[in-house]
């Protein structure tokens, strides 16, 4: 993975010192809370319901075991012994103290991590496919370009006071595991007319109260032009994006208001001036970054591993876990493992310091010392030899990390909700826990099959409920929590926004409603159909009927 050179080190170290000064000015009263707010937000420090919250960037989800151990250390020393992995591949700490925030950043800097631009109206942490570099369908590794974008966007002098936050995601594979079409800019690596790799550029995706699927504004962009084209998009947005209403300030609203053709023309005109300037990417800089993401030293081993096959047969629990949490690797004899952070009754995305350390140890033992965080709030060990899978599974099991539900109904994405968040209208975590318990039976879960369930505690949609196959949105009606349900959303290369089924459900009815939806699907599906397949075939009507029949 990428390693800082002296320049990267200097920027991060100086940024911590700068922030330490800002905190000192706040604590001494030189800065009011209003003046301090934008400064702390540029370093990921929010003021939540009960305390400050610090969001630490995990660029495109990549972590070394050493970094993971540092995250565990921070959780133990400065928080209550755990951290929360987020849908943007970051980690959040819910209980840091203001006077220790700079100390935390100092600790993180020792392992080449920071909290720069994890909030505020800035270009946020860039995200990418968690299977980057190991997926069989990949055109080129998206992390190379995500890292290049990370550097360009860091402390960008022109784009640090944008109309609103700005999110960029990159996929290197045709099957989109990074939900790029729900981002302000989505970048897909693709082959050009002469076989060379470049990018298709999508703009204006987003969630929140106005969910929009991003639109393609350039079918093919050569690599050298990546940054100049991004700068052109951002410059158009920075000048024309609405600043009169924060709910209309994202780039999706600008694109919709002026139309994608006009927007594209403005970007292309701006780019005409920029493309041959200092932002043109030299081949040797791309090569320099690319070298950091070279494949690890895989062994030349057979794809068939008899001892693995026999374990599958003799240990059904292991077999179940392999069935849901293990994915094919591009190299024979290796496998990609998803470590579920969704145990029954647990808080989606939470990990204790002990679990973080255990996973770091397992990464060292079995996966070249590297891990990834996924937008589904799980972790990935990307390079496991098939012959090591059983030992890995045992190691995970010793720490409660063997939940065999990746991609299944209880692999729920949930935001912190009203339990932590000052924006929330309703609780998310207790609903996720109750659904997890209701669908705890593994045979039933496996029978239901691949499905995504997302629960957001407010319209800001941090848990991406619009693009969940089943989406749950917490709303407040006269002081009581209600839950609105959407169906048919998806966040892959065929991104769709879910349809609202009808009136919201009360706290006591929402879990029953989910069960009714699942039962309706099971009754309607044909052989081999997943939930989203069936939904796309039959539409909303049958679900609406069963959900509201008894009312």
């Amino acid at each position: 993975m990428y390693r800082y050179d002296e320049f990267d080190h200097t920027v991060v170290a100086e940024r911590v010192l700068q922030f330490r000064g800002q905190v000192a000015r706040r604590l001494s009263g030189d800065l009011t809370e209003d003046e301090f707010k934008p400064l702390r937000l540029m370093n990921g420090l929010y003021l939540q319901l009960h305390a400050y919250m610090l969001r630490v960037a995990i660029p495109y989800g990549m972590l070394s075991s050493r970094q993971m151990r540092k995250l565990a250390f921070v959780a133990r020393r400065y928080d209550k012994g755990y951290g929360h992995f987020t849908t943007r591949q970051n980690i959040q700490y819910n209980w840091p103290r203001l006077d220790e925030a700079a100390d935390i950043l100092d600790e993180l800097a020792t392992v080449e991590m920071h909290a720069i631009q994890t909030s505020g109206n800035t270009i946020r942490n860039v995200t990418a496919d968690p299977f980057a570099g190991v997926a069989a369908d990949e055109i080129e590794d998206p992390r190379i370009y995500a890292e290049i974008i990370r550097q360009w966007s860091t402390l960008h002098p022109e784009f640090s006071f944008l109309p609103r936050k700005f999110k960029i995601a990159v996929t290197g594979a045709p099957h989109d595991r990074a939900a790029i079409k729900t981002h302000d800019i989505g970048i897909a690596l693709k082959r050009g007319p002469d076989g060379e790799t470049g990018f298709e550029v999508f703009v204006g995706g987003g969630q929140g109260r106005t969910p929009v699927v991003a639109k393609s504004i350039r079918g093919f962009l050569p690599k050298r032009d990546l940054l100049s084209y991004l700068e052109a998009i951002l410059r158009v947005y920075n000048q024309l994006g609405r600043r009169d209403n924060i709910y209309k300030a994202r780039i999706k609203i600008l694109v919709n208001e002026i139309g994608v053709e006009k927007f594209t023309a403005l970007v292309e005109e701006e780019w005409r001036h920029l493309r041959d300037g200092a932002l043109a990417l030299p081949d040797d800089e791309i090569a320099r970054i690319k070298a950091y993401f070279a494949s690890p030293a895989y062994l030349d081993i057979p794809g068939d591993v008899p001892e693995f096959d026999s374990k599958l047969l003799t240990d059904p629990a292991f077999g179940n876990w392999v069935g849901s949490n293990v994915t094919e690797h591009k190299v024979p004899g290796y496998a990609i493992v998803t470590v579920s952070l969704k145990p029954e009754g647990g808080i989606p995305g939470d990990a204790t310091a002990e679990q973080m350390e255990a996973i770091a140890d397992l990464a060292d033992a079995f996966s070249f010392g590297e891990l990834r965080v996924t937008k589904d709030q799980n972790l990935v060990l990307a390079d496991i030899r098939k012959s090591d899978l059983f030992a890995l599974w045992q190691g995970l099991r010793a720490h409660g990390l063997e939940t065999p539900n990746a991609g299944l109904l209880t692999d729920i994405i949930a935001c912190p909700g009203l339990d932590y968040c000052s924006l929330a209208n309703a609780r998310s975590i207790p609903i996720a826990q109750r659904i997890g318990t209701r669908f705890g039976d593994l045979d039933r879960l496996r029978d239901i099959g691949d499905i995504t369930l997302n629960i957001s505690g407010c319209i800001n949609a941090c848990a991406h409920h619009h693009v969940g196959n089943i989406g749950i949105l917490g709303v407040d009606k006269k002081g009581t929590e209600f839950y609105q349900v959407t169906l048919g959303g998806s966040a892959d290369e065929n991104t769709t926004i879910g349809d609202i089924v009808g009136p919201a459900f009360g706290e006591d009815d929402i879990v029953d409603a989910i069960e009714t939806i699942v039962d309706t699907y099971l009754g309607l599906r044909t052989d081999g159909e997943t939930f989203i397949d069936t939904y796309r075939r039959v539409g909303l009507a049958p679900f609406k009927e069963t959900l509201y029949a008894a009312r």
Binding site: F7, Q18, G21, Q151, L155, E158, A278, G369
Partner: protein, 183 residues
């Protein structure tokens, strides 16, 4: 309001002409875009310095053809989080080649000096006399920049390229990268 340049308070010789007023014949005048369009001919005939002050919703593209008439362009930042002036400043410096005084006015805060300077501003309207004191500290807090902008800093990419020309390229070897963090 006090005016600062390079961390020093400086005199402000410019007289701001109120909208609707007839510009006086003498003295260095700072006019709004509305006044400029209304009194364009008279203002162009004067033999005294002329400056223009643009609101945050007025792109410098509006005056791109007239830039040689202005000795000062002031860009308003009505509230610190309105970041349009950063793009306007870079366009003026880098696209239109404007080389005279570029002033940030409005809600200009110490923690913005660095980015404003990088985007091409050289004078700053500040809230208090003391606000200018932090200038050099603000500019030196972060010593390297990843991006090319309107200032003279060489971006990190250029520094890396220069380093590569003088020594063997510091490429990580695959085995070291694969071993991760085992040092």
């Amino acid at each position: 309001m006090p005016l600062a340049k390079d961390g020093q308070l400086i005199d402000d010789p410019w007289t701001l002409v109120a909208d609707g007023a007839v510009p006086p014949a003498e003295g260095a005048l700072l006019v709004s875009y509305a006044t400029w369009t209304e009194h364009r001919d008279a203002l162009s005939r004067r033999n005294a310095p002329l400056g223009i002050r643009l609101d945050s919703d007025q792109s410098p593209a509006l005056i791109a053809d007239d830039l040689d008439r202005f000795d000062l362009i002031a860009l308003d930042i009505p509230v610190f989080k309105d970041g349009r002036a950063y793009s306007y400043a870079r366009l003026l410096r880098e696209r239109y080649g404007y080389a005279k005084e570029l002033r940030a006015v409005g809600n200009v805060l110490r923690d913005q000096y660095h980015f404003l300077h990088r985007c091409g501003f050289d004078t700053f309207e500040v809230a208090t006399d003391e606000a200018a004191d932090a200038w050099w500290e603000a500019l030196s807090e972060i010593s390297h920049a990843y991006q090319p902008a309107a200032d003279a800093r060489r971006p990190i990419l250029a520094l890396r390229q220069a380093r590569t020309e003088h020594s063997a390229p510091p490429r990580p070897d695959t085995a070291t990268v694969a071993a991760g963090w085992a040092y």
